[in-house]
Symmetry: D3
Subunit: 115 residues, 6 copies
Amino acid sequence: MSNLATEFNDYRSKMNDKLLADNNKVIKRIFNLDTNAFTEGLLDVRTKELLGLVASAVLRCDDCIKYHLETVHKNGITKEEMMEAMSIATLVGGTIVIPHLRRAYEFWEALEEEN
Amino acid sequence: MSNLATEFNDYRSKMNDKLLADNNKVIKRIFNLDTNAFTEGLLDVRTKELLGLVASAVLRCDDCIKYHLETVHKNGITKEEMMEAMSIATLVGGTIVIPHLRRAYEFWEALEEEN
Amino acid sequence: MSNLATEFNDYRSKMNDKLLADNNKVIKRIFNLDTNAFTEGLLDVRTKELLGLVASAVLRCDDCIKYHLETVHKNGITKEEMMEAMSIATLVGGTIVIPHLRRAYEFWEALEEEN
Amino acid sequence: MSNLATEFNDYRSKMNDKLLADNNKVIKRIFNLDTNAFTEGLLDVRTKELLGLVASAVLRCDDCIKYHLETVHKNGITKEEMMEAMSIATLVGGTIVIPHLRRAYEFWEALEEEN
Amino acid sequence: MSNLATEFNDYRSKMNDKLLADNNKVIKRIFNLDTNAFTEGLLDVRTKELLGLVASAVLRCDDCIKYHLETVHKNGITKEEMMEAMSIATLVGGTIVIPHLRRAYEFWEALEEEN
Amino acid sequence: MSNLATEFNDYRSKMNDKLLADNNKVIKRIFNLDTNAFTEGLLDVRTKELLGLVASAVLRCDDCIKYHLETVHKNGITKEEMMEAMSIATLVGGTIVIPHLRRAYEFWEALEEEN
């Protein structure tokens, strides 16, 4: 049965595989950096993932929000904590963030349902 | 029968109800402020709704555009007036606004059809 | 004696003259369109200038804000009305609009002082 | 059979026809300028189309990206060259461009398939 | 002697006082919300301030960055931790964030010097 | 005697040195990638620099525009060609690009004066 989170991941994986197979060196290195930047550092993974989520939300990138919601969810952040981060994003980024907040909330439900 | 405007409102209402039930105080107050900011003041509702529409258009937020198209439509603004506001948005925001203008125009037709 | 509004206009005029003398046809036509779009139409000049101001504010373009503050001021819009328009911009565009609001307010004072 | 590129063009043509029939003078002139700006000048059409593509990508406008992918494709630019332009867009615009890159790549495949 | 951080705060305080005295209710409530959103909640103040910093950085708002650098600094976050947050902002937001990173770094030095 | 281009480069070099000495690995790698992405590839350096310029212009990053104006200038692109690229940026990005175009033009004059 179709689930928003599963669908998103399938498309994302399929296209990332194609992009990496395409062999553009700059793109490959950006993907690489993306992995490195979110690993444990002075700031822990939880904090970093929340930073990624809020950055994605104020820049209003639905797919980036979905990706970080997933890693946020996997790292044990609760819905209430996620909403607190998203409320800062909505305040800083303005009411134009609200449509993305609606879709983020729906995606979070899909993540919970998937498990 | 399916109508773009009806679909949009159904999803919007359903998700707004969930967001407000979620009980994040900052989010609730932003929703509240949003209602207050567009009520009659020194500027009338018509003008304020056009301001909301143009702000949404230059920030390229389709759902925000749809919401303001609806209130603009309810407040008796004609298609020609709406297009005049959108032409300012397209000039200030650039040709990247055009795809949103196409969807706005289609949505306006759905609003007229719905009535 | 130096005044923010006078300084802004001097620089703006000097550079616009150079840009138009440079004779790039697309640039010239965009400048032209900009003049036309804000003339009286179905919407009056006051409304159009407020639309221009709010578009500039949510896109966080200080010079565009200054330009529209000036035309708004010339068209007899009061400080309270201007602030009402700017409050919609701040709500829609988020708290990142606030630094631009501070500079807009300061510029408005310069406009009043200049007269 | 359905193809992403064909669908996109059908919708785009249909709505552009409506927008132009609507007869807003500013909109019509912006459409006009858009055509003129991308014709052969001191810079050749290939270069201009790549500029249009990168501008669309960093501004994260999927429909604008699709449109320029099509003209880029028609002008004989290879997938590798397109990816080089897109890698610059992704570096300058950040990882939030990546979801648009995935959709751009998928659209390019649809363009190749269509021919 | 002049210090970037002192200058910034003086101007910010002076203009915020004027904006609040101006008595626009929506603006006052946004300022209020801004204070509330960054107080201790499920997420601690340190995390929230880093979220504010990253949101400001990807939206490329120098004054917002400065404000959050100050609160980040007051909450005992080290330069290395701040740079880790800013590196995520630069990756997500792209190389166009770099000029803001240069100014942020300079401002951080002013904060340290001020103490 | 002071020159806009010289001042810009001095500040940029000084702060880049500090950022790189700070030793954040992600930042260092982004700087590195930035150098690599603009070297000769399937697309030549001239084209790539114009892509960088237009990306910077539509994202309205003055310092990024200045940097690419400099490399564009060094690569023998004429003022007329640069203006053609900037006219595409202004059309795609809208009239909010115009203040940046004014500063770009002024900077180009500083570059010519410097030589």
